[in-house]
Every structure is written in C-alpha cells, then in structure tokens.
C-alpha cells in the first residue's frame, strides 16, 4: 500500500497502453494510493485483455469476485504481478437478466475453479469452460438454487435433499482398474475431504479430490452483519491461519474508511503474523514427519509445536492468536519484558528445530520417502497460479509481503526463499527456511518497535468496497469487502491459499505408489477449513 514512484510510473504507462489499444472500448482509472489500475470493459473484450495482461505483461490471476448490484452483475478479475507492486482489477458489468460471460480458463488455468465457484454460487455460465460442474454445492442441493445470490435467504436452515448418491465424473476405464476412496472421514484428526485414488494395478495413476464438506457459507452469513461480527468470522473460518486472515479483513476495512493503523500496530501486526507463520510451519513439519512414520522426529516436532502454542498463549492470551486484530490496529500490546520473552522463546524453539532439521537431513530413509514425491513443476505452478510455500518450492518466488507490501513489511528487509525441485523434500526445506526467516524478521522487528498507540483512536465508518490481503502461512489471501454507510457488510469474498493450491494438487498426486499418499498430502499441508469457508 506504500506509494512507490516507480509503481506510479508503471501505473500511468499501463493505463496509457490500455487506452491506446482499446480506445473507446474500455474505461481506465488509476488509484495511486492503492497502486491499482481499474479497467472496465465489455464482456467481449475480456479474453483479449486477459491474454494481454497474462502473456504480454506477465501478471498472475489472484481472484475472481462476483457482485450483484441493482440491475447488473459486476465481475472483478484481480491481477497482480511478480516483481511489480501494483494490481490490475478488470471489471466486467452486464445486465442481470443475462448470465453468460466468456470463460478465461482456457487462457489461464488458474481461473478454472474460480469460475466453477461463481457458476455454483451465483448461477453464472462461463462459455467455453472445459468442465463447468458443481464444486461447492454437493448433491444435497437442488438444481437452480444458488446460495450466494442476493435473493437467497441465508438466515433459515435450507431444506436440503436427503441423498447419498455422488459419483465422480469420468472414471478410468481399463482392465483391472479400481478406485479407492479415502474420506470424507479418514485418519486420526484429519479434516473432512474425499480423495478418489484411481489405480490400474500397483500404482495410483490419478487422484480426484472432492472438497467443500466443510462449507459453512461464511461469505453469505457475513452479509447483513456489522463489522464486529464479521471480524469473528474472518478470524475463525480458518483457525490455523487466523491472524493472517483477520489482518487481511482489517486492512480492507481500513482502506474503505481511510484509516491508517499507527506505526506500532503495523509493526506488531508483522510480529504476530510471523509468529503465526512460525507456529504453522513447525506444525507442518511435524505433519510431514508423522506421514513418514518417523516416530522420534514426530514427537520432537510435536513438542516444538506445543511450545510455540504455549508461547503464543502465555504472551497474547490465545494459543492460536485469536482476538488480536481490530480495524484500525491491534488489541494487545507487548511490554519490554514480554518482548524479551517472545524473542528468546522463538529463538529457543528455533534452535531445537534446527537440530531436528540437521538430523533429518542425514536420515536417508526419511529423504528417500520425500525426494521426487509429489512433484509440481514451475510451469504447472505458474499456470495454476499456485501461491505460498508450494509455489516457492517449485521455483516461483511469489510472496505478497514483497509484491504488495502491507503493514510494516515495506520497512523490514528479508529475502523470499525459493527452491527449485518442487518435490516433497523441496517443500520441507522451504518450510525450514521460512521458519528461520520468520525468526529473523521477529528478531529485527522486536528490537526496534516504534513507540506509540496500538490502534487508531476512532474509526469513522464510510460506505465502500476494498480489497485487503495478506500472505497467510499457506500463501496469498485476498478479502474483498463491501460495506454500507452503517458499517453493515453487503458482500464479502474470500480467496484463500488453500483453495488456490488444492486446485493444483492433482499434479502432485498422479502416478505414485499408494503408500506415498499421506506424504504427498502432508507435504502440501493445506487446510480444508480455509478452502471450503
């Protein structure tokens, strides 16, 4: 959100280029404060604009947001760049009596699930989409009911059909082919999801996942609620990345209301976000150890995870960092003693983690199970718009903390680590390196926290809409929020890293030995609560 003169120049250049090329056909406006270029055009212009942004300018697709106005559909495609600090929002508006729009999935695969979701929840038809079938709604939903439409009443229980008849589309047909379902309830405390493993003989050749068992309709139940309540939803729909999501939400509110959190709050937000990332990565490492059945390493990592949870709990009240963010700042300060406890606590845990990592690095039986398992190539990652540690382990250094710096990230110096191989071991290494980097960021930040208030004194509500974002532990999170003059939420759209990355999971889960499945799953480390919302 910082104003960077180079960004402004680029924004100007961009808007001129668009105006020149699509003269009279599109409207272009730029918002220098938000480093954002907004282009609104006709449905028919959409594919060529997308192609140009993606292939000529190398932007990535972040999200697709659907809104209903009085008489129109408003579709907003969010693009953001790798090295550049600006976003491009592509708006398409058309009469609500119609419901078709050209699909861009054939141009950029990353759009595929976004379009399916919009089809499912709003009933829009994306012409040319290769596989426009349900993704969110399960068979309990009657055809023609689209729960995110404005005329759908979400306050009442909806009379779902009592059916139990789901069959996947298109199953491998070959002699000796069989299908192995895993889920929706499986292993110990795993999240609910279904994976169909298709096999002809020894190896699994394909995995088709089915998600949204945990669909709580968070975006819909937020509508009509005051900000204070929606903050609770933003924070608790995905409890293992609660701080990052509440941060993205609060930043959206602050952009709408033109409030800036004080410097100390910005710095504390970075500290808490890195603390969350650190804890998440330790837990993810424990998950990988567990999946390879390496008992001592699993115990060790489990001990470190609990120590990180206790550190959070003892300093900030909540083990999962709930209740810390507010629109305008944070709710909890750290005094000098607590700052010391936090830095030394994180350091101590990290030293033990390093020791564990060094043992793991030389355990050939452990490495054998991770190397070349669950491969995702750089091209696949780019094509599917993958984010977070998974993208970075495949050679795509994509990180919102760098690309679109928020809170105090513009002021801390850090590198975005990256690995090239894109296998399970690369992802594990990356988790270690990022955990280390979080410790370093925490160390440098906590030694020089700005003095002052931790929250803006008062928040005058204004109507409007804005995008908030944060690099959550699993990758890029975008929260689109629209509120009215009373501060009541009218539209809330969540784009989560788990949703984005599950889309690319099938690359990692094809042609593998059956017993490797838990390892592939753990090395992805995604959350269904975060994906399903």
């Amino acid at each position: 959100m910082a104003q960077d003169p180079a960004n402004n120049l680029r924004l100007l250049g961009l808007s001129e280029a668009i105006a020149k090329r699509w003269h009279w056909q599109v409207n272009v406006s730029i918002d220098a404060d938000l480093s954002r270029c907004y282009v609104e055009g006709d449905r028919d212009r959409l594919p060529e604009l997308c192609r140009w942004l993606i292939y000529d300018l190398e932007y990535g697709l972040g999200s697709l947001i659907v809104e209903e106005t009085e008489g129109d559909w408003l579709l907003r495609y969010i693009f953001y760049g790798e090295p550049a600090g600006e976003q491009v929002h592509l708006g398409v508006r058309f009469n609500k009596k119609e419901n078709t729009v050209p699909s861009i999935s054939t141009i950029i695969h990353a759009a595929n699930w976004h379009e399916r979701e919009a089809h499912d929840l709003f009933g829009l038809v994306f012409e040319g989409h290769p596989r426009l079938i349900n993704i969110v709604r399960h068979e309990e939903w009657p055809a023609g009911i689209h729960p995110l439409r404005q005329d759908f009443d979400a306050s009442q229980p909806y009379p779902h059909l009592q059916v139990d008849s789901w069959r996947p589309n298109g199953v491998v047909q070959a002699p000796g082919a069989f299908m192995m379902p895993i889920g929706p309830v499986y292993a110990d405390a795993a999240e609910s999801a279904l994976f169909l493993l298709e096999s002809v003989g020894e190896d699994v050749i394909r995995t088709s996942p089915r998600f949204f068992y945990k669909f709580r309709g968070v975006e819909k139940i937020a509508e009509g609620q005051p900000l204070d309540r929606v903050l609770l939803l933003a924070e608790r729909f995905s409890g293992t990345s609660a701080f990052a999501h509440s941060l993205a939400f609060c930043q959206a509110v602050e952009t709408i209301c033109q409030v800036k959190a004080p410097a100390r709050a910005q710095a504390l937000r970075v500290a808490f976000a890195e603390l969350e990332r650190f804890r998440h990565h330790v837990a993810a490492i424990a998950g990988v150890c567990n999946s390879t059945a390496l008992a001592v390493a699993t115990s060790q990592a489990g001990i470190l995870e609990e120590e990180a949870l206790r550190l959070c709990g003892s300093l900030l009240g909540h083990r999962y960092l709930f209740g810390l963010n507010l629109p305008g700042g944070v709710a909890c300060d750290l005094d000098d003693r607590q700052i010391d406890v936090l830095s030394s606590g994180v350091q101590t845990i990290f030293r033990k983690l390093e020791r564990l990592y060094n043992l793991l690095r030389y355990s050939s039986s452990f490495l054998d199970r991770l190397e070349e398992v669950g491969l995702v190539t750089k091209e696949q990652a780019r094509d599917y718009g993958l984010v977070g540690p998974i993208a970075r382990a495949s050679g795509l250094a994509r990180d919102l903390r760098k690309v679109l710096p928020y809170a105090a990230y513009g002021e801390v110096s850090f590198e975005v680590p990256k690995e090239e191989e894109g296998d399970g071991y690369a992802r594990l290494r990356l988790l270690f390196r990022e955990a280390e980097q979080s410790v370093n960021i925490l160390g440098s930040l906590l030694s020089s926290l700005p003095i002052g208030e931790i929250a803006a004194p008062d928040l005058a509500l204004k109507p409007g809409a804005a995008l908030g974002w944060a690099e959550a532990p699993r990758g890029a999170a975008f929260h689109w929020l629209r509120i009215d003059e009373a501060g009541v939420v009218r539209r809330y759209h969540l784009t989560t890293p788990s949703f984005t990355n599950w889309h690319g999971f099938h690359f990692a889960a094809e042609d593998f030995a059956y017993q490797d499945f838990p390892i592939i799953l753990a090395s992805f480390g995604l959350s269904n609560a975060e994906c399903d919302r």
């Binding site: 979400a154 229980p157 139990d164 068992y213 609990e306 083990r319």
Partner: protein, 261 residues
C-alpha cells in the same frame, strides 16, 4: 538409526502431570473471565459489560452480570476493549467439561465399560482447524493421552466415543450420522468447542446445523474456542468417571438463551 534413539533419550519426558497434578505451565489455556456473576451498583455498568460480548456469554440480569462458559469464544473483548471493571480477573484453568444430564446418569451409562480404555473417532464436522489441532496435541508428547488409556481409532466400528468438532455443516450431516450408526453400543458423543455446542461464530444457518445435539444425542461437552488439550482430557476423564464434570447443565442453543437443569 542410533542418533534418533539418542535424540529421544536426550529430550527426556515433557508430559504433563495432569490429572495427578494440576498443570501450571503458562499458555496451556486461553482461560475464561472469572469473578462472575457480579453485581454492579449501576445497571448501566452491567449493561456496558454485557453488551461488549459478541456471543452472549455475558448476560445482564438486573444489576448482575452472569457468565455462560458454553458460549464464550475467548475474544477478550470484555478484557481488552472496555475499561476493565475493578477486580476483573482472568482465569487460566481448564477443567470445563459440562454434562448435559445429571451426573448419575452419565456414570450409569459409561463408567463400567469405558474405565480402562476408550477408543475415540474424531469427526470434523466443519471445524476451523484449531479444535482439530488441539486434539492432535493430545497424541503428542506433552499430553500423551495413551498413558491414560485413550486412543484414536480410524474406524467408527471400533469407536466408543465420537469426538465431534465444528458446527455440523449440511454436507457433513450424513457422514456424521453414518459414523454414529456404525458405532457399537454403548456409544458416547463429545461435543468439542463452541461450534459443536451451539454453532459458535457460525451459528445455525442455511449451511450448518448449529451444533451436534440437533442431530445426535451428546453425552459430554467442552466449552472453549478451541478448548485446550487439557480441557479435552478433563472431559474424557469425566466421561469415564475418573474426574468430576465441572457442571451439569443443558446445552446452549444456537438461538441464544439457556435453560438450567
């Protein structure tokens, strides 16, 4: 492999002494406000306190504010957002299990059959991930529930207890019912966390039922968002008659309000 054996020995034992001894380490529980019910001289003051609570855990009755732990989600708004009432205290304990039926009934149903070992099947019925993570900690060295005879099992057919977290989404209604039906009798159900009790922040809506008890009978519940591992452990012990539940009281409803046993 010897380096792993050595590493295991080097680490030593970290497991909590609970239930033999109370656990006093910092950060093991998000805690609840304490010192309630409280009577205020000014009803306004009572109203201010109750109004800051987004989940109706703090309720004003005249000049008094009462606390309903089943509904508390540890948002700390009562602690941080309003000038704390004098002597406002926060209590970091964790023995929170509530039995929705009188104690004797619980004992009659389970004490004998489950006392020595209990097999649990976890069902994620739309939980946010934090509740599940706390269950996982029970299987790890700090809590190590095996030492107390509690085991996770992958199949409902071997399960004595269903541990349900989340507000029960419509899409999980059927898998939950199927798991319940597949269990051998006597079967027990534990509702874990605010979501499983009354829907938590998600309430009851077009997409979720707002708690487990609207679908299957619940034998014990643990308030909290999420309940820390020790609170879950306490509930398990209470279920098999090796600890006393904190209270016997009927389950909070998604619509708010509460009845007393």
């Amino acid at each position: 492999m010897w380096e792993w054996v050595w590493e295991g020995i080097r680490q030593g034992i970290v497991t909590t002494g609970y239930p033999a001894r109370a656990e006093t380490a910092a950060g093991v529980s998000p805690g609840f406000p304490s010192g309630l019910p409280r009577t205020f001289t000014d009803p306004e003051e009572a109203e201010t306190l109750a109004a800051c609570c987004p989940s109706e855990a703090l309720v004003r009755e005249g000049r008094q504010v009462i606390f309903r732990d089943q509904r508390c989600i540890h948002c700390y708004r009562c602690l941080r957002r309003i000038a704390p009432p004098q002597e406002w205290r926060w209590q970091g304990n964790y023995e929170w299990a509530v039995s929705p039926r009188p104690r004797a009934e619980l004992a009659k149903k389970f004490d004998k059959s489950f006392r020595r070992s209990l097999h649990l099947r976890v069902i994620d019925a739309g939980a946010c991930g934090a509740c599940l993570s706390e269950i996982e900690q029970l299987n790890k060295p700090y809590y190590n529930m095996h030492r107390l005879g509690f085991f996770l099992t992958p199949t409902p057919r071997d399960a004595d207890l269903l541990l349900v977290a989340g507000p029960v989404t419509e899409h999980m209604r059927l898998p939950l019912l199927k798991a319940y039906e597949a269990m051998p009798a006597p079967k027990a159900v534990l509702a874990l966390g605010a979501c499983a009790i009354y829907g938590g922040v998600f309430g009851s809506s077009f997409a979720s039922l707002g708690g487990v008890s609207s679908l299957i009978p619940v034998d014990i519940l643990v308030p909290g968002c999420p309940p820390p591992p020790l609170a879950i452990l306490h509930a398990l012990l209470a279920l098999v008659g090796r600890a006393e539940p904190h209270r016997c009281e009927s389950i909070a409803s998604p619509q708010g309000g509460e009845s007393h046993v």
